[in-house]
Structure formats: C-alpha cells, structure tokens
Symmetry: C2
Subunit: 396 residues, 2 copies
Amino acid sequence: MKEVIETGDFDFYPIENHIIDSSTDGKKVEIRWDDGHLSKFHFLWLRDNCPCCIHPDTREPIFNVVSITNDLLISSVSVTQEGFLEIIWSGESHTSYFHPGWLRAHCLDLSKKTFPDPLTWDAKTKKEPDRFNWNEIISDPEIERNWLCSLIEAGCCITQNVEPSKNGLVQVAERIGVIRETNFGLFFDVEAKIGPDTAAYTAIELPPHTDLPTREYQPGLQLLHCIKNSVTGGESILLDGFRVAEEIRLQEPEIFELLTSVPWDFGNRSTITDYRWKTPMIHLDKDGKIEEVRVGNFLRVPLQVDFDLIEPMYKAYQLFETLNQDDRFKLRFRLEPGECLIFDNRRVLHARDSFDSSTGERHLYGCYIERDELWSSIRMIERRNRQKIINSSSNE
Amino acid sequence: MKEVIETGDFDFYPIENHIIDSSTDGKKVEIRWDDGHLSKFHFLWLRDNCPCCIHPDTREPIFNVVSITNDLLISSVSVTQEGFLEIIWSGESHTSYFHPGWLRAHCLDLSKKTFPDPLTWDAKTKKEPDRFNWNEIISDPEIERNWLCSLIEAGCCITQNVEPSKNGLVQVAERIGVIRETNFGLFFDVEAKIGPDTAAYTAIELPPHTDLPTREYQPGLQLLHCIKNSVTGGESILLDGFRVAEEIRLQEPEIFELLTSVPWDFGNRSTITDYRWKTPMIHLDKDGKIEEVRVGNFLRVPLQVDFDLIEPMYKAYQLFETLNQDDRFKLRFRLEPGECLIFDNRRVLHARDSFDSSTGERHLYGCYIERDELWSSIRMIERRNRQKIINSSSNE
C-alpha cells in the first residue's frame, strides 16, 4: 500500500490530475495541473502538513508548530519523476514530498462537497419520511450513502425490514456508530409504563419536542424502532424545526430575535437526577444560519429571567409552540413493526398522538447516536470508493 | 410527603419565610414576605407553573401554553390559612395554589447560586490539583459537594485511595453519572501499545491538548485513573486553557480575535473511522466569556481556509501553542496508583512527559462523562440537604 503511506494519512487519493509545473518565491508554491487549474500553497501550511512528519502507527501529525523558526523558507520546489511535489526547506534540513492526489484533494480553492445541504420541508412539500430497505443498505454502499445522507438532507428517514427486536435496533445503530447512553439508559423502551419517569412512557399525547433539550448537548440522532404497534391511535408525527424557525424569521422577525437570543430554562427532574440547561430555543451559527432548535413543553422548568422579559418571551414561545402544533408543518404516519425511524434530534421535532392501551400494544425501542458518527460513516463510504478506484487502476 | 406534591416537582422547599400580604392588578401579583422582601410574579408565568397542572407520575408540566386565551387574567389573589398563595383565574375555571417555599425559591429577583464560579490558575497560583479522599467523599455529602465543585472552580482534582483497578474507576465515574462512550470505547487503557491508534497509546511526549476536539461535542469531563506507574518519566501535566486564553486576550487582542472567530480543522482518522470538526480554538459565549477551548496539535487535519488567512492563522496558533507549552502555566505532578485524576476537558488541557517503557509499567484507565452529570449530582446533594431540613423540622 505504498499509495497510502506517501499521503500521510489513512485515506486514498486517486491521481486524476498531474502537476506539470511548479514555482516558488520561498513563501508560497504555485503549481499548474494538466487540466490548467492553478493551485497556491503557503509554506507554513506545507511544512505543517509534511506527510513524513507523522507517527508511523497512528499517522497523527508530530510536527510541532512551536518549532518553526523565523528563517524557515522554501529553498526549492520541483516535480519528481513519480509526479510528486518535492520541497527542499531552508532554515531546516528537511525535504517534503507531496502526493499529487493528496495535494489536489486539499487544494484550497477547489470546492470539496462530501455532504448534501439540509433541505427544509413541511406537510405540503413532504408526505412521509423516505423509506430505505435494510437489506439493500447493508449490501449496496450507494444505497447506504443515500440512506445516511437523507438524515442530513431531510433530517429523517425510515429503515424498513429491520428485525422487530432489540437486536434489530442494535444492528442499525452500530452500522452508524457508537450509541450515546443517557440517564434513560443505553436503550429505552417507549411504551405505557407503570410509574413512568417521563411523558414518553405514558399513553398521553406527546407534543412536538426534541429529546433532552435539558442537556448541554442535545443528542444528535434519535432512533425509534417499532417492535409492536396494534393500538388505536399512537400515530407518529415529525416536523422540521428549521422550517418552522424560518417561517418565524420571515413573518415575525422580532419574535425570532427573542427566540434566538434569550435563554429559556429546560429541565428534567426525577427522584434521583436533576438535569437543567439554560439556552435559547433557536440557535444560529455565526452566519445567522439556523443550526439547532430546542423544544419541549414538558421539559421546561420555571423561566428565570427579568420580570419585564416574561411577557414578550411567553408571547414568542406561544407563537413558536402554536406553529409547532400546526398541521401544515406535520408529517403524520404510522410506524409498523420492523420500521426504524431515525431523525436529527437537533432539527426535527417528534410527537405522538395519544393512544388507547386497552386496544393493543405499542412498543418502540430507542437510542441516541451523535451526528459525528453519521458523518464519519459517510466519509468512510467515500474513502472505500476512492480505495476501489485505486485498486482497480492498479489491476489494469 | 404532602410537602413535595404541593410544589409540583420532586424537589424540597423548606419554608423559611412566610407571605404576609398579596395583591394583584389582574396581570401581576405582588407579595410581601415577613422579612420585608417584595416579590413580583407575572400572570403568564404563574399560570404556566401552576403546580397542579403536571402529570401525577412524571411531575412534568402538561399545561399547554397554546391554550392560553386572550381573556386569561387573575381574578383574585390571597394567602390561605396554610400560608399558600391562592390564585383564582378568570377566563378559565381554575384555581392555583403556590407553596411559599417554592415561590421564594423561584423569586426572580433573588439570586440563587448553586455552583461556584470558575477560578482560573497558573503555575504560580496553583501547585497541584486539590486532592480528595474517596472514603470521605462517599461518607460525607459536604466533602462530596466540595469534590464535585472543585471540578467547576479549578476544573480539576485528584481522588485518592480509589481501588487501582477498572472497578475503582467505575465506582468513581458512576458516583457522578452516565459514562460517555466514544470510538475509543466505554473505557480506554492509556499505555504504550503495539499498533496504537492515537498518540496517547504510545510512550511519546503528549503535547497539551483536550481530548476529542475532533467531535461536535468535546467530552465534558475526563477521568484518568492510575493503575500502575513505575516508569521513568511519564509525569502528568495540566494547564488551565481559560487562563492561557485570558492571557492572549490581554496581551494580543488581534490574535485572540482570530482564535475565537476563525475555524480550524480538527480530525481523528483511523482505518475504520474519520471524525472531523471545524471550529475556532477558543469559544466565547454571548457575553464574551470564554466557555471552551479546543486544542490538539496531533488532532488536526489540513486547515481549509482562504489562502490569505493561512499566515495570520498559523501565527495565532503558534502563539497559542507556545503558551500552552510554557512552564509558567503548567502543573506537573506524578499520578500514583489509586489516584484518579478528573478534569474539565473543555477547559483544562492535559499533557504527559515521554516515558521509558523499559523502566517499568505505566497504565492509566480512562473514561468520559458529560458535565450535566456533575451538575445534576451537585443539585441532588443540595436537594437532599433541603429534604433533611424539612424532615428535621417535621420531627420537632
């Protein structure tokens, strides 16, 4: 596997373009590719990313940026016979060789898109979550990739033909990654229980909410696997919290401002634990893009805020909650045994109609997974695709 | 336990003050306490927090704010013989009774301080992490509280006299809360391994870092329990990342601006996973207070940023890393078998001197816990204290 080690990491970099020219002024390197594209690399970036300055086993960088002296410069740059970029350093006795596939993949001015963009939806633009067949997912990487990407694009999907058991859920969860345990356990049973410790474990209607808005880190993905569902009622409901938030931003900018800036008090208190978190209900990133919603009527503790803010905050919350309970945003569907619903718990709200326990059984089995696991899984599918390209070209 | 149910939650509210007067204009309630303090409550807040509008088992709120009509007002307010605040609503046929202990505890203009403030330190102001004795922790709630609060105040402490085994770590971890599993397992062995998948599992020097800056959510608390340590070298190092960040804010405001605003590329790639996260190295909250640092020279992947930002970002990072490696910020100490080091992984950087595997054995056993668990544990100690006050007064 010469190909891999030369790049400095565990990934694969098929060579689709060759470097035909290189030059330097000592501080930057310019290279021209055979398709005419020009790339520019900075000497500090190149020195830091030298592919031989890694630990041989972990392939983690061992170069210490603190060791860079003021006289470090590029002495010369050239293209080797094998097509690598060779950099001879001055100020330090070292030579670096950069793999052309790696360099092209890390070119700063070429866009690299691994994930789809989120595409918000409402009841008009979406009828049900997309469905994927478990047997196809595990046998076709392209379908597996679409399955995982649907959790980024729509924020939800249903996996069908999963064994209607705890084992079935474990298989689906472990396909994505490490399960995140909480005070409700590694797995949780959603069914009407004697002595429930949260609303989910009753037969009452559950208003739209995200799970654990009461925690510093709301779980990223939620899996709800249907084991039994023969009751009257108990339909599942999803809505796109980002879509609702966008609606408020458009229609009621002042309320949007309140919901994104003033922290609410969330809490989940039992006889043995007392989790609380204080944060706005809608979170924006630095560019003003909606990045998280936190909702849960039954997961709030008394708001602690200046008296003068109470009325505007309740008015804002009332509007948000009214829209969250509005049918024009809701997908309503029935989970059948063997169907595993997965959704982005920091974007998609879930709810449930009340049900009548005397008419049958309703049993979902659930767990949480962080979103990093999803992203890592998608990157690994892409990596294996690149590996295949390299393997097939070396077999030619 | 009449006391509890009347308050609407699972907590305990000793009555230290009595309401001597109450009045309303229909929208707000003013009450005067026997110590002269005046409290003001808003009708929307009172209606939302009505202690009887909860699920009887979960004690979670079931009142739906969407149901509030425009004609909801307070019809009358009075103090009952038992000292409760009675509110009769108009616009809705309902009466609410508020427990005086609960009302006082939730009075908006009285400060309620459960946790200490973080107190930053450096090598001059702190010599070693504070040490607590495990047997005292589990037998004295006041010592347990100090132990937990030291993780907020200093961000680190050492627990002594813990069984030097996996079981010992499990005991300490479970005393705080649920363990957070990662791709490195539920527990991880820190020792020099054959075929390590990250730098921690070698004998090389580990530069100061936070664990898993590569994840959307950096683990909150890290526990490192010393099982064996007979090698030459391998001293443990901690430094207060908030202290270093404050130093940069003071001395180099432009660099501070860069470190808090421009995202770096963190990554941890193995043969089977590919975790990455793009975020600034220092995070500020909305008020400009430092809330998180992310550091890990060996946990970075190639920076993807506009060419013109490369040089200023490397200069900023070089300064940050230089300070992170500066002795004037470092606590250096030796972990002995039976000592469990705990620190806030989003604030305190840890490092290790290289060691010589041929001179003996060095084996730490580690795990992560979210900070919510710490906060919940402290709240539960306070709750049990309040319960004791109530029990002892009812026995009088």
